[in-house]
Amino acid sequence: MHNADSHQDTIPKVGVYVCHCGINISHTVDVTATVEFASKLPNVTVAREYKFMCSDPGQEIIQQDIRDGLVDRVVVASCSPLMHEPTFRNAIAKAGGNPFMFQMANIREHVSWVTKDRDAATEKAKALIAAAVERVVLHKPLEKTQVPVHPDVLVVGGGIAGIHAALTLANAGKKVYLVERDPTIGGHMAKFDKTFPTLDCSACILTPKMSAVRAHPNITLWTYSEVVNVDGFVGNFKVQVKRKPRYVDEELCVGCLDCIDACIFKKGKIPSEFDSGLSKRKPIYVPFPQATPLVAVIDPESCAHFKTGKCKQPCKDVCERDAINFDQKEEIKEIEVGSIILATGFKTFDASRIYRYGYGRYPNVYTSLEVERLVNAAGPTGGEITLNGGQKPKAVGIIHCVGSRDSHTNNYCSRVCCMYSLKLAHLVKERTNAEVYEFYIDMRTPGKGYEEFYERLLKEDVHFIRGRVAEVTDWAMNGDEEGRLIIRAEDTLVGSVRRIPVDMVILAVGLEAQPDHDDVRRMFNISCSHEGWFLERHPKLAPVSTFTDGIFLAGACQGPKDIPDSVAQAGAAASEALALIDLGHVELEPNTAFVDEDSCSGCKTCMSICPYSAVTFDDSKNKASVNGALCKGCGTCVAACPSGALQQNLFTDEQIFHEIKGVVNYV
């Protein structure tokens, strides 16, 4: 405090540095005019311009002025503070200044990029610079506080992205909680037969990683579980995980599956979630033979014991390990972690939303995910591609962009459909020798080996028809079409409308955000795009970070992604988490609230308003005080304080009033 006061006594020396940002700023803002303007503002001792202020020579200009004693506080007029505030703060600190004697004027994102008129842009830039100068004069030296980072990590979602992130961290010696909603990990990738473009067997590359997760001493795997509450902040999250009862003790079950054979249901009656409903399971089941953990689960919705209470419980009798426990209750586990990786994945587009493609009306119209199960050797048909009646198709049509690149459904490209359609075309040809027709808008095959795979398919005699499909119908117009499905589409390369009779239609459904993305993002305090994809901190420079420190993204929950990209992102998210853990602490922005005891009347208004219970009350003094470790720096209490006793570092009333004055008064 003493330091701060002595600072106020001296006359402030403000340095203003205006950035050209190449031509990003200077092509609409007259930088020289703004510098001229700034040099005449009160307390400004130095005003300079430079091509790239954020570059080393740019920073050096500021540092030299600080070292020469010309300036003791800095205004940089350049891009958004969300972009380069840390850069310049560090530069000031390196030159011996206090990093918080600094203010940025955002004349790129808020001016030059959104304004065409040069005069108007220059005027607006001047106003923002004046505001920053007005405000920085009132800045005080502040110190960042450090809090320790809990070394454990929570990974939410056990698809390939979550698995990879968990393994990377666990292999680095960190303790990981992997939470998966379904009874098994594996996600979508576990359902696929082959992966493009290499045609690797999906199970062969995935299941070893799944068992590694199960066996890893550093990974606590909680399947059939959901995160229900998240508290705290970077380095110190408190998370509640709900473990749903599976009615089979995970510790005792060895996965012999005798219980499933013993069930009073002699045959499966419930559509299998894992097989997209193409096969039937019993009330006690494992999703698929390589499920991890290989522990049976009882579905109380269909189990006779839960429905009637009259089942003889042969499953319980047959279990030698006595693992079946009908009295199992939901459990809430509380854990503490320092960082969280969200890898909650996607869902596929509901094809019945496009009525004219006949999904749900014609039995031989399948979604691509269903066909993935059909071609899978462990799937409902043992890898045979057969029609609903059991016969092999002679002609198959694959319709691209179902639920993608369509203003009626989703505008975006789902990125994976072209490639998986090519893969399915190859597999259909290989297994059935049927004629395959691909109806596409554009072939999008950017990726290593992807275009080559497309070339290969062109040589495999697959028919490519460029144009959007109008409808799938069973209304035959000639003998050849009788009893078949007819795909009506415009062939834009030939310039005519075609009718192609096929036996099977595969809808290349796009990727959509999980239906509960809104609940999830609220729980983790992050943002979503319009489409429901979780929002990264910066699309290029911080693609796995979020606006909430310590929470990272991996895989398709951030946007449609194929397996290589999901894995790459999972690795990146894991290394971000590792960087946090290895540093051991995080520095918190010192924008916390504080109480001026002399003005505090003890009304406690602030206490009721703080969502973090950071304001405490000293009864003996009848004054409020702020716990800096709990305060997150929103400033809501400051605005509520009727006597102005509460203030927020970096956002004091006085600073904001001056900023308002600056923004309006000079230009």
Binding site: N106, H110, T115, K124, S527, F547, N591, C634, I660
Partner: protein, 169 residues
């Protein structure tokens, strides 16, 4: 109305905006990155949360010469600090009645929920508000007439506002 002499087409209103760091300020950055062009009349003051917004800031901006004030926060339920935006909404409701009693057209002050992904909404809202203020003309506080009808006592207004804010949640 002496304001008839003002050429509304030419009048460039000055708008001070208070944007929260996490949603609306980020959205304004996004509008910039996407090069969405909009009226240059808004000057943004960044606050960490719309809950930081003291109604005095709005009054101060109007007194200093702004013709309108725009407040931007996260959508209900999305606040980075849990519920600061609800507090902003309550104060905004109260502030509007205060402005009315001061004879200031309440349309000069606007509260918008703009999410980090809604760069297009920043563009639309700023353009709309600039047009709106062009029609209203400059804010001339000296000649502003107090409404003849006495406004409800502030304490009652506060209760109403708190109640409205409460049910809104």
């Amino acid at each position: 109305m002496s304001e008839n002499e003002i050429n509304y087409e030419q009048f460039e209103p000055r708008i001070v905006a208070f944007f929260c760091n996490w949603c609306t300020y980020t959205a304004a950055d996004l509008a910039g990155t996407a090069r969405m062009q909009y009226a240059p009349n808004v000057r943004v003051v960044r606050v960490m949360c719309s809950g930081r917004l003291d109604p005095q800031f709005v009054l101060s901006a109007l007194r200093e010469g702004a013709d309108g004030v725009l407040i931007g926060g996260c959508h209900p339920g999305d606040c980075h600090y849990q519920e600061g935006n609800y507090k902003a909404l309550r104060r905004f409701t109260l502030l509007k009645s205060l402005l009315k009693s001061m004879g200031i057209n309440e349309e000069r002050v606007r509260l918008e929920w703009i999410a980090a992904s809604e760069g297009d909404k920043v563009q639309r809202v700023i353009n709309e508000m600039t047009e709106q203020l062009r029609k209203l003309g400059p804010l001339n506080l000296e000649s502003t007439q107090l409404p003849t009808q006495a406004a409800a006592p502030p304490i009652l207004e506060e209760k109403i506002a708190a109640h409205q804010g409460g049910t809104h949640e």
